[in-house]
Symmetry: C2
Subunit: 305 residues, 2 copies
Amino acid sequence: MTFAQRLDRIRGLTEARLGSLVGAKTERREGHDRPPQRLLDAVGHATLGGGKRFRPFLVVESAALFGLPEREALDTAAAIECVHCYSLAHDDLPAMDNDAVRRGLPTVWKAFDEWTAILAGDALLTVAFETLSKPEVHPRPEVRLELISGLARAAGMAGMVGGQALDLEAERLPRTAPTTLEEILHLQSLKTGALIRFACEAGAILGQAEPEARAALHRYGKELGLAFQIADDLLDAEGDAATVGKAVSKDAAAGKATLVSLMGRDAARTELKRVEQAAVDALRLFGARAATLIEAAHFVASRNR
Amino acid sequence: MTFAQRLDRIRGLTEARLGSLVGAKTERREGHDRPPQRLLDAVGHATLGGGKRFRPFLVVESAALFGLPEREALDTAAAIECVHCYSLAHDDLPAMDNDAVRRGLPTVWKAFDEWTAILAGDALLTVAFETLSKPEVHPRPEVRLELISGLARAAGMAGMVGGQALDLEAERLPRTAPTTLEEILHLQSLKTGALIRFACEAGAILGQAEPEARAALHRYGKELGLAFQIADDLLDAEGDAATVGKAVSKDAAAGKATLVSLMGRDAARTELKRVEQAAVDALRLFGARAATLIEAAHFVASRNR
């Protein structure tokens, strides 16, 4: 199976699992346990029918290093994707990034309205933790608790939400805007890095990996997240909206410092190569078993949408 | 100790626990794990220095039925209060209930801005689950997972968030507005009832109660939540803003059907008495040990703010 086929396979499996988690099969829910239909529709719009499902892919592939079959990693993968989708639903709001298009479709607030998008995001974040509490995720309660704790830290104030707060502060309260490379790297390490790192570590948690293997996946996730961000900044600076599937040149228009604006495009491309190699090097411990994750690093560094 | 002293004591203990959970002692956080200061300030504003802490009180007192000391119920109590506070921060947003004042103070979006209030709410919901994952909550992993699962269900699409969605639909999309008493009762059972019920059940989960005792606390929580809502509707219809500490007559102004508008004030007061008694009856199993929870039912039914 090629890398693209593998990515596509896990995308399909994740899509199906998300469908059952967020109630696509609503005809089965009846009586007082039935969520309001319009909210379910908005949650479905926020979650289903789009996205590369790259974080779920990282969970499934890192778990595979420890011999876990796909099906035993999919609930965890879907829970992390729920957190990613909730963050998009909230970040797209007019009061936040004010984006009307995402993956070529109207964003949740545009397709419904602002209050529905806020509540759909809240619901999805809650679904993520509910999912991880279930025995299907892993037979050992300690493993489920470690996943919950890790996801909460990756998604919270010292993780994704903290990074989004720093990013909006940079845009709205320019006095506090990060201006050095170190500050930008910190912001990105929280905003997009934390969840990608955790997706890689989640496989090690599910696989009850030794500390050395877990640390290796943490390092891989860290470099991969950075590569992802540099590639994203390059796309924003160079891509066109039709290919990328969302608005571009937003950073420059907002006058925001990015890795690319601080380093220049050429240096950013060189740094991207270095980080890509560092991600690959972090996997040395796993030998040939890590072939798919190595391809993932190349994929991230060369993506064009 | 009188009921008022008891309530005040648990309020103080909860306040202190919340302070350490949401990083009031920020000088201790350093380096890359330090959340952005402005976000921490907003989370603190959303969480600290106000509120009766009634849900934490219910957790601590229901846990006490099973011999648990206060300190062993406080983390769970604080986690549930985090969810309550997040819901207020989001519900007050201009796109939602558009409230500028809460507990006599500016709401989070008014004191900061909309995006900060959205992110502070997101952060608080995440903190709640992170807190419940920690060993300090309860030594048995299974108990912590049951708390996480129960809180997620109470807070989610078929609970609090679902209720808020129904309530806003009633206001904004009048075709779908609930018009019968049964529909209103369902809406309120989700919007405010689910978290109050869970606060009562959480004590039984922490106390590893037998099914009969747990079911009794569920029934108590259900009646208490309903009493809480009828009293709230009566306050909205009859109170004045200075005493209540927030805007009143909002339901009538919005043309929304409430328990009071459907039943009339006199019948609502009679129903409140009936529900108050049903809450007390649910506690029969516990005998004299339930004295404080019985007083809590009277407190809820007679509150004036």
